[in-house]
């Protein structure tokens, strides 16, 4: 069972918020809930299950699931570092910092460290240009990054 009864209950709450027949509007929350109970990852089957539950085409749910960075399609680490590489961050040296982070962790973006603790993703603008370069770890933003600052933050992850 990919969607648990408790997840279904929560999805139903979201469905309630939209007009009748527009249940597919709940897709983002539904994907999030289903991802949370499946090792923080969305397989094709999970996406299809969400689509079926919301009575929408599988591909339409897949469009949403692949558009946003907060859905994972491969196994991820306990913590996810989402590194912005869009224009403000890029101009402020994000590319070099990403390389620095990759070398430090011994993984490429999109991969998970061997101990399964950290995965690194390159993401589009997170809306914190004023603090560029920046990344997000789980639910927390870290701004004005430098190589040293990154080392400190990452070393502190457990």
């Amino acid at each position: 069972m990919i969607i648990s009864d408790s997840a279904k209950k929560q999805i139903d709450i979201w469905i309630e918020k939209y007009p009748q027949g527009k249940q597919s509007s709940a897709v983002m929350e539904a994907l999030k809930l289903v991802q949370a109970e499946n090792d923080n990852q969305l397989t094709s089957e999970a996406i299809q299950a969400v689509a079926d539950y919301l009575d929408m085409p599988g591909i339409a749910a897949a469009e949403v699931a692949t558009f946003y960075e907060n859905y994972n399609h491969k196994p991820v680490g306990k913590h996810i570092i989402r590194f912005c590489h869009n224009i403000s961050c890029m101009l402020n040296g994000a590319d070099d910092l990403i390389t620095h982070l990759e070398t430090k962790l011994g993984v490429k973006t999109g991969e998970v460290t061997k101990d399964g603790l950290i995965s690194v993703k390159k993401v589009e603008c997170l809306g914190a240009c004023v603090g560029a370069p920046m990344f997000q770890i789980d639910d927390q933003y870290y701004e004005h990054l430098t190589a040293d600052k990154i080392d400190d933050i990452v070393d502190g992850l457990k």
Binding site: Q48, P57, A62, T66
Partner: protein, 752 residues
Amino acid sequence: MASITIEIDGNIVNAKAGERLITITDREGISVPRFCYHKKLSVSTSCRMCLVDIEGVTKPQTACSTPVSDGMKIHTQNEKAKASQKAVMEFLLINHPLDCPICDQGGECELQDVAVEYGSDVSRFSEGKRVVAPSDIGPLIQTDMTRCIHCTRCVRFGSEIAGIMEMGGTGRGEDLKIEPFLAEGITSELSGNMIDVCPVGALTSKPFRYELRSWQMASADSVARHDLVGSNLYAQTYKGLVKRVVSGDNELVNETWISDRDRFSYEGLAHENRLLLPQIKVEGQWKEVEWNVALDFAIKGLNKNALNSRKAHKLGGLASSTATTEEFYLMQKMLREIGCENIDYRLNVNNLDDPIHLDSNIKLSDLECVDNVLVIGANLRLEQPMINLRLRKAQLAGASVSALNVKAFDYNHKTNHSTVSPNEIATILAGALKVILEKNSLEAPSYITNINPSELSINLADKLLDSERSVIVLGEHVINNTQAASIAQMVAEIAKQVNGKTLNLTSSANTLGAQYAHFLPKSKGMNTNEMLAADMSAFLLLDIYPEYDFHHSNSAVEALSKDDVFVVSLNSFNNELVAQYSDVLLPMAAMYETSGSHVNINHDMQSFAAAVKAPEEAKPAWKILKVIADLLELPGFHYENVTQVSEELKHQKIYEHKQDITIDLGKKSSAIETIWMHSAYHSDALLRHAKSLSSSKIGQTNSASMNTATAKELSLECGNTYLGVPVVVSDTVADRCVFVSSNQSTDMGRES
């Protein structure tokens, strides 16, 4: 909408307020480049290629999405417009592989055309281009997604027209990919239209891959004959072979779409089973001979077995419903001239004593304007894709659709399915009719006085009474219903009572043509089933394959194989069975190889000319029939071309056996009901020989569906076969019923 005037490139143009600019420029013949805009799809404004300059608006605007207002001044060619269009072109080409020399779209590519006009010969982009791995989406469509410009026409076609969203855009930005989900392949019965709408070479025809350039081919207008719609299309030919089929435009018939069935059936023309040379059977051995020898042999046989001995009443003429109207006409004219009235095209009907009579009195284009649809016995999506497309539009516009079917078929629009056994249909309709008559304060005829309308009947009746424009669609599954004639009669009566229309889909291909040509037994003639049961001495057959075509396939083969029966077969394909019972095989031209006409459900007689010559010695059947008539020295066959035949039959009225039927609701069978349908891509000979269609998902359908209880009663389970067809247990099938959709021959199957 109010009339307004606007100015385009300095010219005053009339328009309606709120019209989109691109519709006006298209109407006026002003060229505005575009990729994502398609007149039959929603506006997505995603390519930005149609930018134009509007006075008073700082930034260039997209013509496809901008509504016009009075006095608007538009420039499509000034510097600002041109510069914007060029900029967009450059942007679109950044990731495009520019592999035109190896791309099938080359020469008919919208991107190529626009690039020639707006592109630059040198690219300023020196970074790496993205590459998208192609995905295998089935045997009909080839994908080369690196070429995709993300216009989303194919995506919109799927969700808006085909009714199943199969393609979608996954990922974003640089990673955006147009692809189907779960690599399941495309299953739509209309999928080929995505090839037509794709403005670049991302989606091309797989069977046509690397065959030819579009400019090498000649293009002939033609009409599809696989169903009652008669979609308009172009057969593209090269050196005497049909190489590809693309859709034609006709708002009244197929708009601009065609079904995959119509698009890919041409592949069958080149099948190795084509009958290419005339052959005669001498002492049980087949001999390939010249035409005159074969015809001589045929005439002698016919004379000996049927004519000289005044036994024309022992001669039978049967034709496939895919014949052209002219073929039907000449064949019946010839047979009647020699005194033979045994003429029929209805091969798959169990009971021809009480045939179905129901007019189709609604135009195809009006189908999308109905507000209530009742479908009885049809899997519309697969059986009548073009009609379903219109009904789907009606549903999306608010019409309510109800279906009485043996199985809850997968419709691509919202339908209230009622799964009912075939032998309940008559009673349900009688109940509905009773309710309607009562509401109209009319007396109910005796056969319904004892009926107690069920909830379903009341519900259907209420919907019909509430609507202003209903249509009742009678589908093919009803043909062999024991109460078929009563059902048809009640449908007509109900429609009359509620001022609705009826659509009779119980026969297909060119059966209306056959009726116009009077290809039916009159007065003393025998119908198909009577012929098969009678002691016949000769048959003249037009493109018949008994193992697929007859309801009584076994008795048909038996009747044709009798020692003293002389069989002349005009066929486009050869096979063992045909060779077994025939005495002469005359190779005939297939679709696209013959001229003639098709009568569609609008009663429009659509003529078409042969796109190619028939291969080797095969000849158009109308010519073969004419020559046989000449050799029999019959008067009135001095035709020089097929148009003269069409002219002659044009004035004929449709011929039907109208007979009063007594509605008898008691006539029910208690046995398990089986509805046998050929799967959508096996309904006629050409389709059965079209390889890519056969290997597609729909073509592979071969199942006998029944619910758990029925399976138990028959002691069957998944993995077994029923009448030779693999069993599928599905609780969407009505109790004590089996729905067979098969791509194999009827075998002994339909004998029940």
